[in-house]
Symmetry: C2
């Protein structure tokens, strides 16, 4: 029996919703979402992840999860990761992960509302939302329809990235959503053989962004081949580095 749409909302009790945003693609929003969720779960918080990138969903792969999902009494049952994080994504609802989702804005927005209102999240301390690139339907629907209490902005050192992230910061100001802080990813590469540091994507612009956002720089992550291999293997929950656990305090 399929529950009436929206029934899950009465069942759910999500204390805190935080969205991970950047405006720009490929800076590491999914990675940062996975790292934050894992660090919170290690501290015994009840955590969920909603993959809001409807046409380019990558969260399930980071956690090594595959569909299908089951339908419970009150709605869609999210999958649970190895460390107990509840996860929902468009890719878990498709018959095959190679299938493109060729949806225009109204369908994307409807999809987002269903991943929030028709999913049995249950009791959660924190729900993290991995936003897609851009400031269009998905992002707007999340900011308008969900009780987002804060945003974590992800950037990389390139000027191109910080120009687009500045637009996202200004969108946050316009929609009056609080920015918790900024994370700069791929900040540098430490060569494993000669110990030298290479600023492959240039020098950091995080100070200017932090000023614009009126929010602190929370962390700088290096470019690390191990990160990429953990992600590809579906083991984002195993990634550890200095300061990650302190970050969620």
């Amino acid at each position: 029996p399929t529950p009436k749409p929206g029934t899950a909302e009465e069942y759910n009790n999500v204390k805190n919703v935080i969205a991970v945003m950047s405006g720009k693609g490929g800076v590491g929003k999914s990675l940062v979402t996975g790292l934050l969720a894992s660090a919170l779960a290690r501290k015994n918080f009840k955590v969920g992840v909603l993959d809001a990138d409807i046409t380019g969903p990558s969260i399930p792969m980071l956690f090594g999860l595959h569909g299908p999902v089951a339908v419970g009494e009150f709605g869609i049952k999210p999958l649970e990761s190895r460390t107990g994080i509840k996860i929902i994504s468009m890719n878990l609802l498709l018959p095959s992960e190679d299938q493109p989702v060729i949806w225009r804005g109204p369908l994307v927005s409807q999809g987002i509302r269903q991943l929030w209102g028709d999913v049995m999240w249950g009791d959660l301390d924190t729900l993290l939302i991995d936003l897609p690139p851009g400031t269009s339907d998905a992002t707007l629907t999340i900011m308008q329809s969900l009780p987002v209490s804060g945003l974590v902005m992800v950037t990389t050192p390139q000027s191109l990235a910080s120009m687009v992230v500045t637009k996202a910061i200004n969108m946050a100001h316009i929609t009056k959503v609080d920015i918790i802080g900024i994370i700069e990813n791929m900040a540098y590469f430490d060569c494993p053989d000669n110990g030298q540091r290479y600023y492959i994507f240039g020098r950091s612009h995080s100070a200017v962004l932090s000023e614009n956002a009126k929010a602190p720089l929370l962390a700088q992550f290096p470019i690390d081949p191990n990160i990429s291999s953990y992600c590809d293997a579906g083991n984002v929950e195993d990634i550890r580095f200095d300061g990650l656990d302190a970050l969620v305090d």
Copy 2:
């Protein structure tokens, strides 16, 4: 006097439209678009670039161009780069580049149609289109409303990227648009000090993608700090490396 919308179409004569696509953000679509346009211009082709990433436009910055644009007798006049490439982008139409474009699908699609039909492209051998991430409104409008003759697919080595690029390949098959070839970007990093090669984002998946796409691997570009600094300085037209000029033949 503002010309009637669509007047420019009678004035324009664009022989060939090629879109640069990936589905995934941050893989280097804008870079590849800039490199292809510059290589074609060097061979004296008349080239234009339409930045179809309405909410995250980065093309003008790559060419060191800033708005505003002028309006001519038949429509909006694109800017011209140092080497004569005609360029239009949402960022050239905004009062400030920090301003977010918070548009839902229907407005994004209208914006795309205007960048094609209301711009005085004139005589062009090739118009390159830099598509945004995802398979939603912008990409769908381009594939349905413009005479796209071929697609160049851009990927990076991560499995996450190739999973999303596979969706884009399948979208191309569904919409019956020809795939010219695949370009793998950020394929490796050659350390300038010890000459060793590091596969920072893992080993290539390009062979599988090329098979899915039934199209050749056209090139593999390295991660190169010089590329990033040329881009940030607005000098994409000065980037040279082996095989780039041969690529457009």
